[in-house]
Amino acid sequence: MPASLINKEEAPREVEESVAPAPEPLLENTIEWSDSLIAHARELFKHRELLWLITQREIKVRYKQSALGVLWAILQPFSLMVVFTVFFSWFARMESDGIPYPLFSYAALLPWIFFSTSLSFAVPSLIVNSHIITKIYFPREIVPLASVLAAFLDFVIAALIFVGMLAFYRVAPTWNIFYVAPLIVIQSAFTVGVCLLLSAFTVLYRDVRHMLPLAIQIWMFVTPILYPASVVPARWRAWYFALNPMAVIIDGYRRAVLQGTPPELKYLALAAVVSCLLVWAGYKYFKHLEREFADIV
């Protein structure tokens, strides 16, 4: 069998038996965890195929040997929406700013579940994948990022049902629906930042893993999902939106899609700044700790 020699930096090529030795390596691969985030991001980009494959693995593994498979992505927000409608709307007469409650709650549950699923899979991801991390090198941020990406794909699938619901309730979209795009970008950035920070922190302190389900639950109640943001007393609403970027984002989706009004732009801008800072700080912290992961995990 003719051995083939591949220079990793170039396109793969076969080398005949007679053409040995290998081409001189082009790249000086100095082993250093440099502090430049741009260099890290470039290396991440080089490994984009791996990110995609690990995302696929997350999804495949999650739904393998389950009878309903990918339907679970829809069932989770949908069943919660049904329960919320029965108990909070029919029985408890929760306000919903005049929007049919199923729409009202589903519009919030959809992005919220994207956020909470990302967190619950990404935060322990480095520990769960310790068998790979202690054996093979690759940019470690791929592991939590794949969890976020997998949750995002669930989000997209569950959003298809939402489109059907909009048609069913005859909600006519306005131009403000285009605010959904920046909302998704800001939410994704916020999620990635939190996940990078917490997943690295979890390697050091396993407590985070036990704290997480409680934290997600509390966070859900301080975010306008069951109730409209308008029930928060006006004098507290500024703090409410300023301190919880998820509140602005979730409220923003409702306004843009269901009410046809723009999100609270002032607070959304703040959320965008916070998200950018979180991604920067989270990535920095992650990369700072990364060199110790294999020693500790």
Partner: protein
């Protein structure tokens, strides 16, 4: 030009920091340090490597031998970038692939086919490249019939064969091999050795850790003898292996 340069590298482990901590332990330790005014960390240090320096030229096959815990695997992990040196500098020119634990990246729920793509990618291969070599990998692993079976149903021998087959087709500039030749049955072992021999002839730089002195002597052009994190002897295989045996016998006596 050297392919691998290791310059004054030390790797320190803090025994107390091995394994995960909880916040409570951490608070307790802060308390201790605040009140007792002593740093309890110093005495719990362990050096897996102490100021080790060596160079490996392109196309060389170098072996590391020594007793368990001498730092052999630490060197491989450092070269593979899995762990980071406490002090010193490591330079590797070109791509590195490690056979440190074959099949480590496998996921039990995925099929052999899915795992070949995933593992190849973890090891730095392009998907198109894996696709091009897919048939050869499967053939090498002798798993044609089971390639669409989840690997959790594989026997341990099948698992290892698949892992080695992928790794043996990566073709990096530097290949790190840790004891993997001790796996599988005799026929597969000799197949692995032939493959490594083939890669070596094609100019690949190979760093090799083993307790199998016969294999070390046959494959390596130069051997390092490690003990307690330091290089005791280096040079021509036979002489270094003899040196190692002499030390072992002396310590036993």
């Amino acid at each position: 030009m050297n392919t691998v340069t290791v310059d004054q590298v030390s790797k320190r482990y803090r025994l107390s920091r091995l394994g995960a901590k909880s916040l409570r332990e951490e608070f307790a330790r802060w308390g201790e340090r605040l009140f007792a005014r002593q740093d309890s960390r110093g005495k719990e240090e362990f050096y897996a490597l102490r100021e080790v320096s060596f160079e490996i030229g392109r196309g060389e096959t170098v072996g590391f031998i020594g007793p368990n815990g001498s730092g052999k695997s630490t060197i491989l992990k450092l070269l593979a970038r899995i762990i980071y040196p406490t002090r010193g500098r490591i330079t590797v020119r070109g791509s590195v692939a490690s056979l440190i634990e074959v099949g480590a990246g496998f996921h039990p729920e995925l099929t052999g086919r899915e795992n070949i793509f995933l593992y190849g990618s973890i090891m730095g291969m392009k998907q198109a490249d894996v696709r091009a070599k897919f048939d050869r990998i499967v053939e090498f692993a002798e798993l044609e019939r089971f390639i669409d079976t989840p690997v959790k149903r594989y026997s341990s021998g099948m698992y290892v064969r698949l892992g080695f087959a992928v790794a043996a087709h990566i073709n990096p500039h530097v290949l790190l091999v840790d004891e993997v030749l001790a796996v599988g049955d005799a026929a597969f072992q000799s197949k692995c050795q032939r493959r490594i021999e083939e890669l070596r002839r094609h100019g690949m730089t190979i760093v090799f850790v083993s307790h199998d002195m016969a294999a070390v002597e046959r494959l390596c052009s130069r051997v390092f003898f490690l003990s307690q994190g330091e290089i005791r002897a280096a040079g021509e295989p036979r002489a270094v292996i003899n040196e190692y045996y002499k030390t072992v016998v002396a310590e036993k006596a």
